[in-house]
């Protein structure tokens, strides 16, 4: 879990994750577009994201494709968010249901 927090604690790496959220399966060259850093730096960031299991990869021939893997983020949510916020989320959800119900009527 330390790996995940470290991996997320960088704007460039968060941008890479955002780009993979928008479009999955990008190669290193495709990910280098729109990134204000060297190819080598992008490759290093991707290595860190992969080590933290936030990015999964598939080789097709000589090309490595990258995918957002949100499973560790979900584990953090289960461990660090759900437990503390269950009660307030329930109240918010009830409020949301009431408001949406009124709007739909």
């Amino acid at each position: 879990m330390d790996d995940v927090f470290k991996a997320l604690a960088d704007r460039g790496r968060r941008k890479l994750l955002d780009r993979l959220f928008k479009r999955s399966g990008l190669t290193l060259s495709e990910l280098c577009e729109e990134m204000d850093m060297s190819r080598q730096a992008v490759a290093q960031h991707l290595g860190l994201l992969e080590a933290a299991n936030l990015v999964s990869t598939v080789w097709r021939g000589r090309e490595k494709h990258h995918y957002l893997n949100p499973v560790p983020i979900h584990e953090i949510y289960d461990r660090w968010v759900r437990k503390f916020e269950r009660r307030s989320l329930k109240a918010l959800n009830q409020l949301k249901q009431q408001l949406e119900g009124e709007r739909n009527d």
């Binding site: 999955s24 399966g25 598939v58 995918y67 499973v71 979900h74 584990e75 289960d78």
Partner: protein, 152 residues
Amino acid sequence: MTRTEFVYVTYIAAPQQRIWDALLKPEFTRQYWLHDNVSDWKPGSGWEHKSHETGEVQLVGKVVEVAPPKRLVMTWAAPMDAANPSAHSRVTFELEPVDEMVRLTVTHDELVPGSDMEKAISGGWPRVLSSLKTFLETGKPLPTWAKAKAAR
């Protein structure tokens, strides 16, 4: 038509055979997925994903490839698309030992971009895999669908 895909990975500290059983046997799937996965798991057979509570069939498909306890390939569709192969997507489970753990990779591909199925699974798989991991490692499932239900 352009299709899209997702690749999910989780590392689980449990024996490979137990993870395999947890994916295929309804007495396990109902505990962390709240659904029964029902099939004889032979290539060419059908499979169904049914609500354990109501028995309602929510997903259907065909078993494509079975190599226990390593690899399972199946097609995946809404029940109304059962007879329409072009609407079927494909799910591959791969289990591979890594050190003391097992890497479980779920590849969901041949999805129609922007479809309801794409939206549903991209939220669903992280939740299911996170719950599966907790179930196998602690014996207790997470309230997998609690938030989704409460928000409905």
